[in-house]
């Protein structure tokens, strides 16, 4: 029982470490991708951006904590039932109250929350999709003395050839003799949802999607592994937060299902006498759960909603599937994998 009780402070300690680390990194990454124009980029904004970032990193910090705490359970096993129950209740409480509380804070700060913007550096050539923008001066979202170069579609190298085509807004006031280069005395950056437009005095000069203007032109983030991983986590977060905001049972179901699945997967830590394998396998499984959720809540739910016409079933289906998988894993664990295997086989 002592080993079960000690899990609570250990879990909290680990969670705080992961939460602090991930939030700091997320905040830093967010800060560097912020719009640099005008006075928006201030320390105050940095703090106000903290709330949404805390909500974003809370679930993933929790999942990392569960994987690591399972290793502690392997080394110092308590009782199967209590340790499972303690961790489930503790993690569920953190997830449910944490998300509710933080999203409440976020709501109260909505007018001051910073959205990701684009970086526009005066006196430098700023890439914006297929366009290169050189402003002499930047003030707020107003650019002064702006030269614009429009790259040709056809590209001489593979990296550029992969560039997504840029949707061009109808231009009312293209300067006379316009070719690849254009000049306007003033232009304004207008951000509307996923679209960013450069507006001149006589109309839209061009528009690009936000995704075409990364925070920086190259990053480890672009690597396939990380990109898909972050995308799946973001998708899960988005769903969880949207359910939290509507306040329905879907939120509690999803929170319970994912935590139940993660905790039921704890036996992966005991399947072989090679803990490295077990640990990496646990990480792999955790990674796979996010993909599974993206798959279930994405294309599968859409198909179900399309054929059955019941969107509420389609909405909660991923949670049911995860609970089902969790129950199966839990049964395998109880039936085939001794809880104190490590202690019995290795240490004694």
């Amino acid at each position: 029982m002592k080993n079960d009780i000690i899990l609570i402070p250990l879990f909290l300690l680990l969670f705080i470490i992961f939460f602090a680390l991930f939030t700091t990194l997320d905040l830093f990454a967010f800060w560097t991708s912020l719009s640099s124009y005008g006075s928006e980029k201030t320390g105050g904004q940095f703090l106000f951006a903290l709330w949404p970032k805390l909500v974003e990193t809370l679930p993933v910090s929790l999942f990392f904590t569960i994987v690591f705490i399972e290793f502690r359970i392997l080394m110092k096993p308590g009782t199967r039932f209590f340790s499972f129950l303690i961790l489930l209740l503790l993690s569920l409480a953190i997830l449910v109250f944490g998300v509710k509380l933080l999203s409440g804070f976020e709501k109260s700060q909505t007018s001051r929350v910073v959205t990701e913007g684009i970086e526009m550096i005066p006196g430098r050539i700023n890439p914006m999709g297929r366009y290169l923008v050189y402003p002499i001066a930047v003030s707020g979202n107003l650019l002064k003395g702006v030269a614009i170069a429009e790259k040709e579609e056809r590209s001489g190298n593979a990296a550029q050839a992969k560039e997504a085509p840029v949707r061009k807004a109808p231009s009312k006031g293209k300067p006379e003799g316009a070719g690849a280069l254009r000049f306007v005395k003033e232009a304004q950056i207008v951000e509307k949802g996923k679209e960013i437009r450069l507006e001149g005095s006589e109309g839209t000069l061009f528009s690009v999607y936000r995704s075409e203007i990364p925070a920086r032109p190259f990053s480890m983030k672009d690597q396939h592994f990380i990109e898909t991983f972050l995308r799946d986590i973001a998708f899960f977060n988005e769903k969880l937060l949207s359910y939290a905001k509507t306040g329905g049972k879907d939120f509690y179901m999803l929170a319970f299902a994912i935590l139940f699945l993660f905790l039921a997967s704890g036996f992966f830590m005991r399947i072989t006498r090679w803990p490295l394998f077990n640990l990496l396998f646990s990480f792999l499984a955790s990674r796979a759960y996010f993909s599974l959720y993206s798959f279930l809540a994405g294309p599968v739910s859409l198909q179900i909603a399309k054929y059955m016409g019941k969107s509420e079933i389609a909405g909660s289906m991923p949670a049911y599937v995860m609970i089902l998988i969790g129950i199966l894993l839990l049964l395998i664990d109880i039936l085939f994998v001794p809880f104190d295997r490590w202690k019995r086989e290795i240490e004694e």
Binding site: L25, F28, A29, W31, T32, I121, G123, R124, I125, N126, P127, L132, Y134, I136, A137, K144, G145, A147, A149, K151, E152, R154, S155, G156, N157, A159, Q160, E176, G177, G179, A180, L181, F183, K185, R216, P217, F218, S219, M220, K221, Q223, F225, I226, F229, T272, R273, W274, P275, L276, F277, L279, L280, F283, L284, E345, I346, E347
Partner: protein
């Protein structure tokens, strides 16, 4: 003899390196596309791409093999000395730590010395292969048009890139035979005589040096006097004028030039035949244009006269001189079009100058570089300040001559066919209308295409060089800075992660009593992928912190942060290694 852990670690590392090198070799073989690379580059490509991939993934490979060595292959019993007492773990890892420090240094050398070289070499071979394919298409088209002379020229150019290609060599031999036996069509033979040889020379060959180049003033005057005595008044005037231009104090040069000019102008009054007189007048006109700095006009006059009397010694000489002079201020349209049909770099845009608050943004749609020759198409130059445009020009073609892009392109035959800069807005003096003086080195142009991703493949030295001038070209310096920081980070990452790999591997070591189960072996091939994912996350975390510090406080602070952070991580890794116990 008892196996020492160090021996085991190096053995696992060696085996892992060899296996991964072999896999990279196979992968390179899979990547090889004969359309991208000529057959002669197959083996160099396989070798260089293997080296490139090996260096690129050296850190995750090393970390994987370290983790596997300590987790799977080193047993507790390996740590017991003959007396039956186990050595403390931290003593057992001293040699591996030293080894990893050396490996980190070797990696730094490989990443900075070898990686950019092989990457650039592969790119160069790809470029040359593209070029060869371009020549191949040209000679095939020429053959279809039965223009054997042109076909032979392009085959010759192809063979410069791929000299060992027997098939093409045989084709060339056949063509040569065909040409010797008069197999070329009349038109193309004529064309070959006139512009074919010129074009070939212009595409990267050297011109014959002027035999009078580098002579002294006295020698020029002596030469002028000799020509005067031989009644070659054009040459006498030309060399005397040259001597006078070099040394305006030389009155004797002026005297010879004056006498020769008198003779030239008095010729028409001497009662020669009408046609001959007309020819002579045109020659004088051409010569006058040449010496009065109108080389294009002179070129067309002598080109026209050359057709009438190709054996005239004056025409031969001054046509050659006019052509040389023309090439200093212009180039031929067909020459540019031929070159620009070849693969090149696209969308180059940079700030060429910033003077008196005015910026000059230069855009080049395409650049083709062969040797020292740089040709451009789709040139646009915009000079502006906050109040508006000073001038905005567009030119279809350009050629780098000296340190300037010359935008005057002329036709070899038709003087009316001229392609030059058109001023959409504003204007410039006539003498510089068709010139853009470059403030950058020509070889740097290819890095100025606004494609910041390119920085990843540059070496530290190249990045630092670009950094020093980046701002003035309009490049965002912090994109260069983060590339520099990430490159500096890599050797540290190797050392820190290898040490963490020791502790991690040993802490999570397999506790099998007998042989390893099949599942363990089956898992090994997937290990590098897991480690690659974790390594990528680790690097991404570092990148976020460094980019943040860079954005907030600049390069120096970010560099200091990097060093401090890596020192802390290294310390932590050492502590973890020291904290490991020999037995469970």
């Amino acid at each position: 003899m008892k196996r020492l852990p160090t021996y085991l670690v190096t053995r696992v590392l060696t085996i892992f390196y060899l296996v991964m090198a072999f896999l990279f070799f196979l992968y390179s073989f899979y990547l090889y596309n004969p359309r991208d690379l000529l057959g002669r580059y197959l083996w160099p490509f396989l070798f260089m791409n293997t080296v490139k991939l090996f260096i690129q993934y050296l850190i995750p490979i090393t970390v994987t093999s370290v983790i596997l060595a300590y987790s799977l292959f080193i047993k507790e019993k390996d740590l017991y000395v003959s007396g039956g007492v186990p050595l403390p773990f931290n003593q057992l890892v001293v040699k591996p730590i030293v080894f990893f420090i050396i490996l980190a240094a070797v990696y730094a050398v490989l990443a900075e010395g070898v990686y950019p070289v092989v990457t650039a070499r592969i790119e160069e071979e790809r470029y040359l292969s593209n070029l060869a394919r371009g020549f191949e298409e040209k000679w095939k088209t020429a053959l279809e048009n039965k223009d054997y002379e042109e076909a032979k020229e392009y085959i010759d150019l192809y063979l410069v890139i791929d000299p060992g290609n027997r098939e093409v060599q045989d084709k060339r031999a056949n063509l040569k035979l065909k040409l010797l036996t008069g197999g070329n069509s009349g038109n193309s033979l004529e064309r070959g005589k006139t512009d074919g040889s010129e074009k070939k020379k212009e595409m990267g060959r050297n011109y014959l040096p002027d035999e009078t180049e580098g002579m002294t003033v006295d020698e020029y005057i002596a030469l002028a006097k000799r020509y005067y005595a031989e009644e070659d008044y054009f040459s006498a005037h030309y060399y005397a004028s040259l001597a006078y231009r070099i040394d305006p104090e030389r009155r004797d040069a002026l005297r010879v030039a004056g006498k020769a000019w008198e003779k030239i102008t008095s010729f028409s009054q001497s009662g020669k035949e009408r046609e001959e007189s007309k020819f002579y007048r045109r020659k004088k006109e051409g010569y006058t244009a040449l010496i009065s700095n109108q080389p294009v006009k002179a070129y067309y006059i002598f080109s026209e006269l050359k057709k009438i009397n190709p054996d005239d010694a004056d025409i031969k000489r001054y046509f050659s001189k006019a052509r040389e002079a023309v090439k200093k201020v212009s180039f031929f349209i067909d020459e540019a079009e031929d070159m620009l049909a070849l693969p090149g770099y696209r969308n180059i845009a940079f700030i060429n100058s910033t003077e008196d608050g005015k910026r000059e943004l230069l855009y080049i749609s395409k650049l083709v570089a062969i040797g020292e020759n740089y040709f451009f198409s789709g040139i646009e130059d915009l000079k502006f300040d906050e109040n508006g445009v000073v001038y905005h020009l567009k030119a279809p073609y350009g050629k780098l001559i000296g340190n300037a892009i010359v935008m005057l392109a002329i036709d070899r035959e038709n003087r009316k066919n001229v392609k030059e800069a058109v001023y959409v807005k504003g204007n410039r003096e006539a003498s510089v209308r068709n010139l853009i003086y470059l403030r950058t080195r020509p070889d740097e142009l290819i890095h100025l295409d606004g494609n910041y991703k390119r920085f990843e493949s540059l070496s530290l030295a190249e990045l630092f060089r670009l950094r020093s001038g980046g701002g003035k070209y309009g490049i965002i310096e912090k994109y260069i800075d983060i590339s520099i920081l990430m490159k500096i980070l890599n050797p540290f990452s190797l050392l820190v992660l290898a040490l963490l790999g020791i502790s991690f591997g040993w802490f999570f070591r397999a506790r099998y009593l007998a042989r390893l189960p099949i599942i363990a072996y089956a898992f090994i091939p997937f290990m590098p992928l897991f480690i690659l994912l974790l390594y990528s996350l680790y690097q991404y975390g570092n990148e976020i912190i460094l980019y943040f510090v860079l954005s907030v406080s600049g390069f120096l602070t970010a560099l200091i942060t990097l060093v401090v952070m890596q020192a802390a991580l290294l310390f932590l890794a050492m502590i973890l290694v020291a904290g490991q116990r020999t037995s469970s």
